[in-house]
């Protein structure tokens, strides 16, 4: 999954606000390149769970991504996203007297989509990764897996069970997510190639089809909900190949227990980068990798954001002949655009239906659409520290 770009934007531009909002101009000295290097994802590795649920600070970038589609007993639908990003400013920590100095920076995005009342609640937070303000713990050495930013957190509460908690002005969320399948290693045994350059890759696994129960509180009103959660965890030290202006990422969880992930790296000439890829996951956990030539994704309808003026796809026709799969996807709520201080992208709940091998197939999922408001490669090259 290609969400790493979001991270760069989030972290490197965390002080960036739209020009109209500020009248200050910061000029920083040009720092010399750091002598030490971050580790890179060069070849497939052995995975060790639950340790690998935790952080990998030798790599520059890491995130834990929870998205899910939920509904109440009465069938009132909700979507949610709770994402934690970690970004290392330098490969090695600075020696310091103060507890505050940190080379690890965390940010998080939290959204709830109230599909019935057609309202989207996006929130964003930042913190340095020390003083217990934010951080991540490995499953090893007796500490359960945990990643948190202030009072937003994902915490292992029992074997295979993770509790998600987040609270913002008008919304709160408290869910328990149950792992049912082993982690799906994306790409080549978990090595997901992002560009042609060596090391321009990430380690990437997903937990799919996770039954989820809990409550969502909207404006003081509490809803008991249940549904399915998709979790992605990915870490890398990589950059975006120039000429790639953004990506579309699809995650689909079908009623029959199967799941599908696709990511489309869009180039400026309108074609897809050859590193675009995907995975089909059967109900038994077996996987089938997909190359960018294996599918066609056609945009059937678009939605224009009144805020950013960006035009996003809103309805899709997906054909994967290799799987004998034909699907239509439609966003459950038009406006699921995050227009935070740092990034503008669309990430929201989507419903899918169609058929596979002549059997009807339907499900829900999340789609992430980036690079529609601003070209990402340009923005990133300006913002990425030459570490």
């Amino acid at each position: 999954m290609q969400r790493w770009l979001i991270l760069f934007i989030t972290l490197m531009v965390f002080w960036v606000q739209p020009a109209w909002a500020t009248n200050t101009q910061l000029t920083w000295v040009d720092a010399p390149p750091h002598a030490a290097q971050f580790r890179k994802a060069l070849k497939p590795q052995d995975w060790h769970f639950p340790q690998d649920f935790g952080p990998h600070p030798q790599y520059q970038t890491e995130w834990w991504y929870y998205t899910g589609n939920l509904e109440t007993e009465a069938g009132r639908p909700f979507g949610y996203q709770l994402t934690f990003f970690r970004q290392a400013l330098t490969p090695t920590p600075a020696t310091t007297d103060s507890q505050w100095r940190s080379h690890q920076i965390y940010s998080a995005h939290f959204t709830v989509s109230d599909i019935q009342d057609r309202h989207f609640y996006p929130y964003e937070r930042f913190s340095r990764g020390n003083l217990a303000l934010a951080g991540a713990l490995a499953g090893a050495s007796g500490t359960p897996y945990q990643v948190w930013l202030q009072d937003w957190s994902a915490t292992a509460v029992a074997a295979g069970q993770v509790r998600l908690q987040a609270k913002a002005e008008n919304v709160a969320l408290d869910l328990v997510v149950q792992q049912t399948l082993p982690p799906v290693l994306q790409g080549d045994r978990g090595l997901s190639q992002k560009g042609m350059e060596p090391g321009n890759a990430s380690y990437y696994y997903s937990l799919v089809q996770q039954p989820t129960t809990g409550t969502i509180v909207l404006n003081g009103k509490s809803y008991v909900v249940k549904g399915l959660t998709w979790k992605d965890h990915e870490y890398s030290t990589s950059a975006l190949t120039p000429g790639t202006i953004g990506w579309d990422w699809f995650s689909m969880q079908f009623d029959n227990g199967s799941a599908l992930m696709l990511y489309l790296l869009r180039r400026e000439d309108g074609t897809l980068a050859s590193t675009s890829a995907g995975t089909f996951m059967a109900p038994d956990g077996s996987t089938q990798p997909l190359g960018f030539q294996d599918w066609t994704v056609t945009t059937l309808d678009t939605w224009k954001s009144p805020r950013s003026q960006a035009v996003y796809p809103a309805q899709w026709q997906i054909e994967i002949p290799k799987l004998d799969l034909s699907l239509q996807g439609k966003s459950l709520l038009a406006n699921q655009e995050l227009n935070t201080a740092t990034a503008t992208y669309w990430e929201g709940a989507v419903a899918f239906h169609g058929n596979m091998a002549h059997q009807p197939l339907q499900g829900k999922g999340y789609v992430e659409l980036t690079g529609y408001a601003t070209r990402l490669d340009n923005l990133l090259s300006e913002r990425t520290p030459k570490g």
């Binding site: 965390f14 002080w15 960036v16 606000q17 739209p18 020009a19 909002a21 500020t22 009248n23 200050t24 101009q25 910061l26 000029t27 920083w28 000295v29 040009d30 720092a31 400013l89 330098t90 600075a94 310091t96 007297d97 103060s98 507890q99 505050w100 100095r101 940190s102 080379h103 920076i105 937070r125 930042f126 913190s127 340095r128 003083l131 217990a132 303000l133 948190w148 930013l149 202030q150 009072d151 937003w152 609270k167 913002a168 002005e169 201080a341 520290p385 030459k386 570490g387």
Partner: protein
């Protein structure tokens, strides 16, 4: 202005205006002096207002710049700040409430001109809801990685960096209470907002980690800013906080600081008003003169149908025009003057109250409006008396020149009555305790103006007497001079009153400052008994910000030649009883060796309450605390807010403290430790062994600890000198005001004399024609002016004494809570007398010379 009369005829004021204009062209000088009088009065007011306002504004700006959008602030009751884990706990519990940690302190930077700079440590990730300095669409470079990950990296305002020739990457030296640190400039903030730019010009920004390390506050936060919109959030947060923390609103924070200087500023404003009062005498004088001169004309005008109203309008309009011109000139002058005194005022505020660095004067519209209105209103008020008088006089009487004087003569007994009434009213105001400082100043002005009204009766009495004894003593002039003064009493008495008021201000202020200085000298002598004083170098002259390195404290206790060490620490503590902050001093011994004088000691404690203090039995409080709270006697107990909740201490004694007007409380250091847990030492008093060379020990201490912390090590003598230097600097502004009062008075006398001599041109022409030489005439003129000066000077002496009494026993006590011992010195009086006579004589020189050169024939012919 055209009116239609009932019979249909049209009455125009235009001919009247033309008359006034012709007169102005003929005799411009009195008008110019009148304008100058108003201008100087307004200028003083504007200057003081400007300087005060600029200091306040600079402080408010920098407070706003740091407060940002915060609504509340969590702060520690103890001086050590907040445990940083509290912040993390708060964030994990109330993530939805915006909160930002701040670590701040003052540093001096040689590369930036050694001014105190506010080093503010921020957490960039929490900043954006509060302050926008670090939110920037067009930031360039990647030094923020260094800023966040490397120690000793700072950001400066671009203007400040440019002004001091500092490029990115430059190394700065930070003097933190005598300990030198270095820091690299990794970024600059430029802002297009003028106000922000000014506010930020004295800031250094650092990452919160860097600030903790540089300021020696690792593990601690200075405060936590909050943006709380929901009352229930605020309540929930307050409840989770430990007892040693409190939540204050951002507004209360700002007000508390501004209230500290309120009395100081009111005093300055009152002094500037004094100048305006003297200016009013000038206006009154000029207008009276112009009215008197035109009485025949007014009589004729009235006879040919000019109404009373038209006449009043004419005179008041003239005054209004001059007052507008004078006020405008005064405002311009005041701005120029204000720029030069802003430094003096800032210095005093820095010495006594809070650190403020005024880079630019702030001219508010309010200051201009106030100057303009006060100038015009005071001029109109002064002009109203002669104008009404001219209006009410019947046409036939106005044709007689002597009416005015005879009217005044009839008024004399009434003036005495008014004097008595005003003096009584003034006394009542001065005695009115709850009226506060404003009532006290009103009382002072009542006494002053009352005395001015007494001048005509007094002058009459004296001159009549002198006329009788004068001739036998100095010949005909001895009779002529007093009679001349009497004959124009309506104007001479005003000039004398103006000069008297000014000179009495000189006498009063001199006595007050002298007594103050004497009191402080004696107090320093009694209180400072240790031989050597050690403290961190002060960021400002009077206040020490910073602590002595604990390692140095330990070593000083056993330093060669040192017999005994007394340590001091201080902190700002809230007095619950009066709901205001005071300075608490934690001492482990009496640096005065029992010689300190006390205003009150609890009867059962004998002569020295220090034994009881050492035993932790209570507190000693300063008299400022009692006087400023208007308490008639010392309270039995005092309750202080401590990290362990409110604690009540018995009051053992009341001592004098002239270093703070907020109030000071002395506690034993063990008691302080018990409640505040702050073991740091702000200063030490060292007693040397007998026979040891104090200066040698001072040098030895300086040399030994120079590498650790550059300390202020002062012998008893040099500390006293330093204290008195601060004292003198504090009163520099008073001196400046005193000088201005003299200048205004001088102009007043000059303008009066000029007018009088001009008025008497014909009479003097006759004197000359009948054989008086120019030399004799000059002598006569100087005799007259000398007499006037002498009278003004003589009257000013008792008035000055009264003024001093009011300043010392009422104004000072109410403003600052200090009791001063009045000390009279002969020089205050004879110097003032000399000033009065010399000023008057100098003012007489020009008219005397002019008269000497007069064309007799023309003068006699003139009328």
């Amino acid at each position: 202005m055209i009116q239609t009369l009932p019979n249909g005829a049209i009455a125009s004021n235009r001919p009247l205006w033309r008359l006034a204009w012709q007169r102005l062209q003929l005799r411009p000088l009195p008008y110019l002096l009148c304008i100058l009088g108003i201008a100087l009065g307004v200028a003083m007011m504007v200057a003081i207002d400007l300087a005060n306002g600029s200091a306040q504004r600079a402080f408010a700006l920098s407070t706003d710049a740091i407060t940002g959008k915060a609504t509340h602030r969590i702060e520690a009751i103890a001086p050590g700040g907040i445990d940083e884990t509290i912040y993390a706990r708060l964030k994990r519990q109330f993530g939805q409430v915006d909160a930002a940690p701040i670590v701040e302190g003052y540093v001096k930077v040689p590369e930036l001109g050694n001014q105190p700079f506010r080093l503010v440590g921020v957490d960039l990730f929490a900043e954006s809801p509060f302050r926008n300095y670090f939110t920037d669409a067009g930031s360039s470079g990647n030094g923020f990685v260094q800023f966040l990950t490397e120690p000793n990296t700072i950001v400066l305002l671009k203007d400040t960096a440019d002004r001091n020739g500092l490029a990115l990457g430059a190394t700065l030296h930070l003097d933190v209470a005598g300990q030198m640190k270095t820091a690299a400039l990794v970024g600059t903030v430029a802002t297009t907002d003028q106000l922000n730019r000014r506010a930020l010009s004295n800031f250094l920004f650092a990452d919160i980690a860097t600030a903790q390390e540089i300021l020696g506050q690792v593990g601690r936060l200075s405060h936590i800013d909050l943006i709380v919109h929901q009352p229930q959030d605020l309540e929930a947060i307050t409840q989770t906080l430990p007892t040693d923390l409190q939540v204050e609103t951002a507004e209360a924070q700002k007000n508390a600081v501004q209230q500290m200087t309120a009395a100081f500023e009111l005093n300055l404003t009152a002094l500037s008003l004094l100048a305006l009062v003297v200016g009013m005498f000038l206006v009154y004088n000029t207008v009276t003169f112009s009215v008197v001169q035109r009485r025949p004309l007014f009589g004729i005008l009235r006879c040919i149908g000019v109404t009373q109203g038209q006449l009043l309008t004419l005179i008041l309009s003239e005054a209004a025009i001059f007052s507008v011109i004078g006020s405008v000139i005064g405002i311009v002058l005041g701005i120029v003057l204000g720029r030069s005194i802003v430094g003096l005022i800032t210095q005093t505020i820095n010495d006594f109250y809070f650190i403020v660095n005024v880079q630019q004067v702030t001219l508010s519209n309010w200051t201009i409006a106030k100057g303009l209105v006060m100038g015009i209103v005071s001029a109109l008020m002064a002009a109203a008396i002669p104008a009404i008088e001219a209006m009410q006089t019947s046409p036939t009487l106005t044709l007689q020149r002597s009416t005015l004087e005879s009217k005044l003569e009839a008024l004399l007994p009434k003036l005495v009555l008014v004097w008595i009434a005003m003096t009584l009213a003034g006394m009542a105001l001065l005695r009115w305790q709850s009226g506060g400082l404003v009532a006290a100043f009103a009382g002072l002005f009542a006494v002053l103006l009352g005395a001015a009204l007494l001048t005509p009766p007094l002058v009459t009495l004296l001159m009549r007497g002198l006329a009788m004894v004068g001739q036998p003593m100095v010949g005909v002039f001895g009779k002529l001079a007093p009679r001349n003064i009497l004959r124009s009493l309506s104007r001479t008495s005003v000039a004398i009153a103006a000069l008297m008021v000014s000179v009495s201000v000189i006498v009063g202020v001199s006595i007050m400052v002298g007594s103050f200085r004497g009191t402080v000298v004696q107090w320093l002598d009694q209180t400072l008994q240790a031989d050597i004083y050690v403290s961190p170098p002060s960021t400002t002259a009077n206040r020490v910000l910073g602590k002595v390195d604990p390692a140095i404290v330990a070593q000083l206790k056993t330093f060669a030649g040192v017999a005994k060490v007394v340590t001091y620490n201080d902190a700002d503590v809230q007095v619950v009883d009066y709901n205001k902050p005071v300075k608490v001093i934690a001492a482990d011994g009496d640096v005065s060796q029992g010689k300190r004088p006390y205003a009150w000691i609890r009867p059962d404690l004998g002569k020295d309450p220090w034994v009881a203090i050492d035993a932790g039995k209570g507190a000693i409080i300063s008299e400022a605390l009692i006087l400023r709270e208007n308490l008639s006697e010392p309270p039995e107990t005092i309750t202080l807010r401590t990290p362990a909740g409110n604690q009540t201490f018995p009051v053992l004694a009341v001592f004098y403290d002239y270093s703070s007007d907020r109030g000071t409380i002395i506690l034993d250091n063990d008691v302080y430790q018990q409640f505040w847990h702050d073991p740091s030492v702000a200063s030490l008093g060292l007693f040397t062994q007998p026979g040891v060379d104090v200066e040698a020990v001072v040098e030895a201490i300086k040399t030994q600890f120079n590498d650790q912390q550059s300390l202020a090590v002062q012998s008893n003598v040099s500390l006293r000198q330093g204290s008195l230097e601060i004292f003198d600097r504090t009163f520099a502004i008073t001196d400046a005001l005193r000088l201005l009062a003299v200048v205004v008075a001088f102009i007043g006398v000059l303008s009066t004399l000029m007018s009088l001599q001009l008025e008497r041109t014909r009479e003097i022409g006759i004197l000359r024609a009948t054989g008086m030489t120019p030399r004799q005439l000059g002598s006569l003129t100087l005799l007259e002016t000398g007499l006037m000066g002498l009278m003004a000077g003589l009257f000013a002496l008792p008035l000055g004494y009264v003024l001093a009494w009011i300043l010392i026993y009422v104004i000072n006590v109410r403003s600052f809570g200090w009791t001063l011992q009045m000390a009279l010195e002969a020089k205050y009086f004879w110097q003032a007398l000399l000033v009065a006579v010399v000023a008057a004589l100098l003012a007489g020189v020009y008219p005397a010379v002019r008269l000497g050169r007069m064309n007799i024939a023309a003068a006699v012919r003139e009328e």
